[in-house]
């Protein structure tokens, strides 16, 4: 074999070509054969034919050759690529290791941004994107009337209505519901030493079947247990673990609830969390079947939810409900109640009901972390550019030694991949911590939090983000460098003037966009903060501080309503006297429902002697209270409070709130007027301030208060007002209650403030997050500004030196650097104000009593950004003014 001379090596000038190789090889074979044959005496023509004949099927052999050749070529390319990449990665580690400060700063920035993104994505994924944790959850719908001011009673249905709806609807596989008026700690677990409070929800017998929840152990409710059958219960998984130490033989055992034996028929799976879906932040311990016959005369008590038949849309279900509603009775015993639910049966996907208003908050939050990621990316880009500028020579030399442009870009991309990979790994760790913490925030009233976790989707998101940041932000400096003129850089012995200037422009653009994004974040955070402050300023109608509540157990069973009222009054009176005597207690009272929790209404009172059009009068929310409650809650009262002298056979008395008074007797003093409930007359003895009964932010409707001595309360919550921190009284109050009733369970002693805080919690949560992101954005923007200015100062050392030598004062140099900084900041702010207007519009519906164009917020944003810009410009300015002209001039 002889080597091919140089001039004959032209054929593969444009890269490998396996097909041509095979052809050439086989042609050589044939020609060699022909030569041999000719030398044996064949005629050339015959020799050609003979060679072809001997070879056989040339085409098939060629095809085999091409396919093998291509395979080899592919493998070779892949191998080259890998070895190049490994080389790049090794090199990246080496160079980054040499510049550890730069690497650490970039990795931390990226970790914060990526961590925030993963955490928020996990929240968004759990709440918005993932279906509810039930099989075929898209079929589940929540059925409720449009929202009104009369609370839960107007959002629920009577037992008869439920049965008629279930029987007549054609859209559903099945319809179910649960008793909506459950309060925390409504049961006592007895028979195991001291009575323990427990929270139970009564559900319609088919509740779990409709949701598609299978028991982890035992079984669900059987049809015969639903109607007055044996007393049975299903335990929630958490309660079974906590209270019964995960007893594997619990099924079939009897437990004692409120002193009566109840058989445990099953344990629900850990994946089912009633509170997380239907009542955010609440824990529910056990479930008992709801006896509809017992509840038939109680009015609206159940919520409805149904599972649609396959293929039935929500719109169909609405048509179907509108068809059924006119045939539904509130109570079949009263024919006039036919059609009362007309227009009040509106199915919405259960998911929409659960997530509801959070959707917008979540999207806003998602946008905020997206902005953070962009800012972090721009920052990385900036840092890489600054580094790349100082490495321009290195790349020029590499280019001169034959590295292609693509290869150089790849090297830079690899470096940013190493950075963002490390950032992503660290960020994932951060996100894990945040998510684990969030999933256990019981005080946060957000749905589905317990289902929060980092899953494969979140991990996929991590990879996606890392790759995205790498490509986007590694590419800018990469192309900049690779596009540079090699000779120019190599010739340029000093600090690259031409290239430097161009870099500076790109970097200025990057910083301006960074500042603009930070602007939008700051404005959003500012608006949300102001909204939150406004919400805190809302007059709740009561004083939550220094008040606390505990659920009280009592036994007022008696043969008649009157006897029961008398017995109850005696017990309550004794309790209140005892508790009021405790040191530190300023006032004490009881009510069956507390504000910002569950509530109910009874009927529609009519002011005596007046007529109103149907539907004009409100259904006020009902609270049954003891004397002293109004004072204990710190509610302002005009008129008189109830007294223990208001007894069943004395005149019936009520308190109403200001809103109700305005409806009943506009412009008049309601005290002394009479409200009629059918034949019963109630004397209004006082008017109290409106209290926020459902939400802090929503409007307030009519409320009416009855004395426990005349009406039956639905349980009792003791409220005390104290001059001491409420928690210090917990033990003595419980001790006093136990002395009167040994069966009193160790119920939670809750400061009223925690109830209010819980109502604030979603808003506080979102506000804090967005504020944190805005702070991070501001910090990153400051870093970006500092980077650009300090780089441009170091680039201009000579220039500044010359000017100072020519007489420019240090102050003047400083002023100029700071002016430069301000120019960047102002450009960013101008652009950012536009971005802010867009983001403010996006979050407008999340604001409370705050205009999206709130001048204070915008002014605050401008001020804080200018301040930050000044600070980050001051340091390089200081350095510039300290340049020694002689040293600068000599440095070349």
């Amino acid at each position: 074999m002889k080597p091919i001379p140089l001039w004959r090596r032209y054929s593969r000038l444009f890269g490998a070509d396996p097909a041509a190789d095979v052809k050439d090889e086989l042609r050589f074979h044939l020609e060699a054969k022909i030569d041999d044959l000719v030398s044996q005496g064949w005629r050339p023509e015959a020799a050609r034919q003979e060679a072809g004949r001997q070879f056989g099927d040339l085409r098939t052999v060629q095809e085999i050759g091409v396919s093998i050749g291509e395979k080899m070529e592919r493998r070779k390319r892949l191998k080259d690529y890998w070895s190049d990449s490994l080389q790049d990665v090794r090199y990246a580690f080496r160079t980054l290791g040499r510049d550890a400060g730069f690497a650490a700063v970039s990795i931390v920035i990226l970790a914060l941004a990526i961590g925030a993104n993963i955490a928020v994505f996990s929240v968004v994924n759990t709440l918005l994107l993932r279906p509810l944790p039930f099989p075929d959850s898209h079929q589940l719908v929540w059925i409720a009337p449009p929202p009104t001011a009369c609370g839960l009673s107007c959002a629920t249905y009577s037992a008869d209505a439920y049965e008629e709806f279930r029987a007549q609807s054609r859209a559903y596989q099945d319809v179910t519901g649960y008793e909506a008026f459950t309060t925390p700690d409504n049961l006592r677990l007895t028979g195991l030493g001291e009575p323990e409070p427990a929270t139970g929800v009564e559900v319609i017998g088919n509740f779990f079947q409709v949701l598609g929840v299978q028991p982890a152990m035992g079984r669900l409710f059987a049809p015969d247990e639903v109607r007055g059958g044996p007393q049975v219960a299903l335990l929630s998984n958490a309660y079974w673990r906590r209270q019964f130490n995960a007893d594997p033989a619990i099924v079939g055992k009897a437990i004692e609830l409120n002193g009566a034996p109840v058989t445990v028929v099953g344990v629900l799976p850990a994946s089912f969390d009633f509170g997380a879906v239907f009542s955010p932040g609440a824990k529910v311990d056990l479930f008992t079947p709801l006896d509809l016959d017992r509840e038939r005369n109680w009015g609206n008590i159940v919520t409805l939810l149904g599972r649609l038949k396959p293929g039935v849309t929500v719109a169909h279900a609405l048509d179907d409900a509108n068809r059924v509603a006119p045939n539904m009775y509130f109570n079949v015993k009263y024919p006039e109640s036919l059609g009362r639910y007309k227009g009040d049966l509106i199915p919405v996907p259960l998911k929409d009901y659960v997530i509801g208003k959070l959707r917008r908050s979540l999207i806003a939050l998602w946008s905020a972390v997206g902005a953070i990621l962009l800012i972090a990316g721009v920052n990385l880009s900036n840092l890489l550019l600054a580094r790349a500028a100082t490495r321009a020579k290195e790349f020029a030399v590499r280019g001169a030694l034959g590295a292609s442009r693509g290869r150089t870009v790849r090297q830079l991309l690899t470096e940013s991949l190493v950075l963002s990979g490390a950032g992503a790994a660290l960020g994932l760790g951060l996100a894990f911590i945040v998510i684990a913490w969030l999933a256990h925030q019981r005080s946060l009233a957000l749905p589905l939090l317990s289902a929060l976790r980092i899953d494969s989707q979140a991990l996929g998101w991590t990879v996606l983000i890392a790759v995205f940041t790498t490509v986007l932000f590694g590419l800018v400096p990469g192309l900049r460098i690779a596009g540079g003129n090699l000779q120019e850089v190599l010739k340029d012995s000093g600090r690259g003037a031409g290239l430097g200037r161009r870099h500076e422009r790109v970097r200025a653009v990057l910083v301006v966009s960074e500042v603009a994004l930070a602007c939008a974040l700051l404005v959003s955070a500012g608006l949300l903060l102001r909204s939150f402050l406004k919400v805190l300023d809302v007059d709740l109608g009561f004083q939550p501080d220094r008040a606390a509540s505990i659920k009280v157990e009592y036994d007022d069973s008696a043969p008649s309503d009157h006897a029961s009222a008398a017995k109850r009054a005696a017990i309550f009176h004794q309790i209140l006297d005892r508790v009021s005597a405790l040191p530190g207690v300023e006032a004490a009272g009881m009510a069956d429902y507390l504000p910002l929790g569950p509530n109910r209404n009874w009927d529609t009172p009519v002011p005596q002697g007046k007529t109103f059009a149907p539907g004009e009068l409100p259904d006020p929310l009902v609270y049954v209270i003891t004397p002293g409650f109004i004072r204990a809650m710190g509610i302002r009262l005009h008129g008189r409070d109830f007294t223990w002298a208001d007894v069943p056979h004395s005149e019936k008395v009520v308190l109403i709130n200001a809103s109700a008074a305005r409806v009943y007797w506009p412009g008049e003093d309601a005290v002394g007027k009479v409200l009629m409930r059918g034949e019963e007359a109630d004397l209004v003895v006082g008017v109290v301030d409106d209290i926020h009964e459902e939400t802090v932010e929503g409007p307030v409707g009519s409320q009416i208060y009855y004395p426990v001595t005349q009406q039956g309360p639905n349980g009792a919550q003791l409220v005390i007002r104290t001059s001491l921190p409420p928690a210090t009284l917990a033990a003595s109050v419980l001790h006093a209650l136990r002395e009167i009733n040994p069966k009193q369970p160790a119920a939670e002693f809750r400061p009223i403030q925690t109830i209010v805080d819980r109502a604030y919690s979603p808003r506080r949560f979102f506000m804090l997050l967005v504020a944190a992101f805005a702070g991070l954005g501001l910090l990153l923007a400051a870093l970006g500004i500092y980077g650009v200015i300090s780089y441009s100062v170091s680039q201009k050392t000579q220039e500044i030196g010359v000017r100072m030598a020519l007489g420019a004062s240090a102050g003047r140099v400083q002023r100029e650097v700071i002016l430069n900084t301000l120019r960047l900041a102002v450009a960013g702010i101008v652009l950012g104000t536009t971005a802010s207007v867009v983001s403010a519009r996006l979050i407008a519906s999340l604001l409370f009593a705050t205009s999206p164009w709130d001048v204070t917020t915008y002014a605050g944003m401008v001020l804080s950004l200018v301040a930050v810009a000044l600070i980050s410009g001051y340091i390089p300015a200081q350095r510039a003014s300290c340049i020694d002209p002689m040293a600068a001039l000599r440095s070349q």
Partner: protein, 119 residues
């Protein structure tokens, strides 16, 4: 060429190619000639099987190829053994010899084997 000969060739073509290259790099045509001459014209490798076999061996990394000029200054693809190819040749030769010895013992037997001892 009859089918019996063809089958025989297929099983041993790889080892013949590897052996042919032990003397130095060769192009495909030279390999057929070498095998033919070395076997005293008994073994004739068909082109249709030789080239796929060469490419397969190259793909496995047993051979490596390079373009060079033939004796009469034509561009030809020359194959040479890689170290892995050399090892493979040694292995196959050993296996082939063991196989041939075994076959020879059976064919050359002059009496039936002794009855197996009942253990």
């Amino acid at each position: 060429m009859d089918t019996a000969k063809l089958e025989f060739l297929r099983g041993t073509l790889d080892v013949l190619i590897l052996k042919a290259l032990i003397w130095g790099p060769l192009h495909g045509y030279a390999i057929t000639n070498l095998i033919r001459r070395q076997s005293d014209e008994a073994l004739f490798v068909e082109e249709g099987t030789l080239y796929p076999a060469l490419w397969r061996l190259e793909n496995k990394g047993l051979l490596e190829a390079e373009w060079g000029l033939s004796a009469n200054n034509r561009k030809a693809k020359f194959y040479r053994l890689t170290p892995e190819g050399r090892r493979q040749l040694r292995r196959e030769v050993k296996a082939w010899e063991a196989y041939a010895t075994a076959v020879a013992k059976v064919i050359g037997a002059t009496q039936p084997p002794l009855p197996e001892e009942i253990g």
